[in-house]
């Protein structure tokens, strides 16, 4: 593992929801017998090591004006993957882009999450991606209903 016991306690708090109060680390620091500055040093260190990828607020984007959100899956050949992935990564409306290992009979191996404010904007974005990447085969896999959305609890159990 990439972290020690104190880090584990910090990660356990950070993977959840920090209290919205003037000194959000105070309670944890007291429980751990550390200063708030110590906690912050450790968080900084965990960020540098890449254990914490991002720090701050997570919004519920469907409520933040992005109503036409779609998962779009593209068929990408072995030699096209990097170029297409890098082009898609450059779009600010694309939040996630992964090349995935998929069964041959499915074949759509590059996945992107596109966030648009209307269906028309979504279509325009897809057209732009097609034009810039030269890809031709894709499917839009729209979400009909959210069945579960939670933050991963990596660290479980009591302290």
């Amino acid at each position: 593992m990439n972290y020690d016991e104190d880090d584990r306690k910090i990660l356990k708090l950070l993977q959840g929801d920090l209290p919205v109060e003037s000194r959000p680390f105070r309670e944890l620091a007291q429980a751990m017998n550390l200063s708030e500055e110590d906690i912050i040093d450790r968080v900084q260190n965990l960020q540098q090591k890449g254990t914490i990828r991002r720090w701050g607020a997570v919004l519920r984007h469907q409520q933040a004006g992005f109503t036409a959100n779609a998962m779009v899956a593209w068929k990408v050949g072995a030699e096209q993957g990097d170029e297409a992935g890098n082009i898609m990564a450059g779009f600010k409306e694309i939040s996630h882009c992964y090349l995935r290992e998929v069964p041959d009979e499915f074949g759509y191996n590059m996945f992107s999450m596109i966030h648009a404010r209307s269906d028309q904007e979504l279509r325009e974005l897809i057209d732009k991606v097609l034009e810039q990447t030269g890809l031709t085969d894709y499917i839009v896999i729209k979400s009909l209903r959210e069945l579960k959305k939670a933050s991963m609890e990596y660290i479980r159990g009591e302290d």
Binding site: S22, T51, A57, K148
Partner: protein, 156 residues
């Protein structure tokens, strides 16, 4: 409909993209935006209560701590959607599950401490449900971004 004003939008931008790592992060933010800390805290509490802010914390990189995750999809008949979803959703490693408009109509992500754990869980799930699950682990990540530009619209 909750209308955001300019201050709310500045708050959301900072909270997402430049949240200070400090003993008193909200005091620093308040000074930058030109608000009293107390007002900032109550605006954030309000946006959380309204469901706009899901949480404030850290996003852990699952690969960095050795975890394995995979996107999964399966075809579920209309009549079984609720019970199958309940079975899948009770797994703590399932963080997202969506009903989608495709022959594969249920798409979820599973994160587990190792590849073996994940495959074992999925195998057990397939036996329990009597359904085949398509597994699509990431080969290469080109982008993961979870912040949004708040500048364009103020309507929620």
């Amino acid at each position: 409909m909750y209308i955001l004003d300019d201050k709310d939008r500045s708050i959301l931008d900072l909270l997402q993209n430049d949240f200070p790592l400090a003993v008193q992060p909200y005091l620093e933010m308040a000074n930058r935006i030109g608000l009293e800390e107390e007002e900032l805290l109550s605006r954030i509490a309000e946006m959380k209560a309204k469901g706009l802010i899901r949480r404030i914390g850290g996003i852990i990189d699952s690969r960095n701590i050795g975890f394995y995750s995979t996107l999964c999809a399966l075809t579920v008949s209309e009549a079984r959607i609720e019970t199958v979803a309940a079975t899948i959703n009770q797994l703590p490693g399932v963080t997202h599950n969506y009903l989608r408009d495709h022959d594969y109509n249920m798409w979820f992500t599973l994160t587990a401490p190792s590849r073996d754990d994940a495959l074992k869980t999925l195998q057990e799930l397939e036996i329990l449900l009597g359904l085949t699950i398509m597994k699509m682990p990431a080969q290469k990540v080109f982008k993961i971004k979870v912040s949004f530009d708040m500048g364009v619209s103020n309507e929620l």
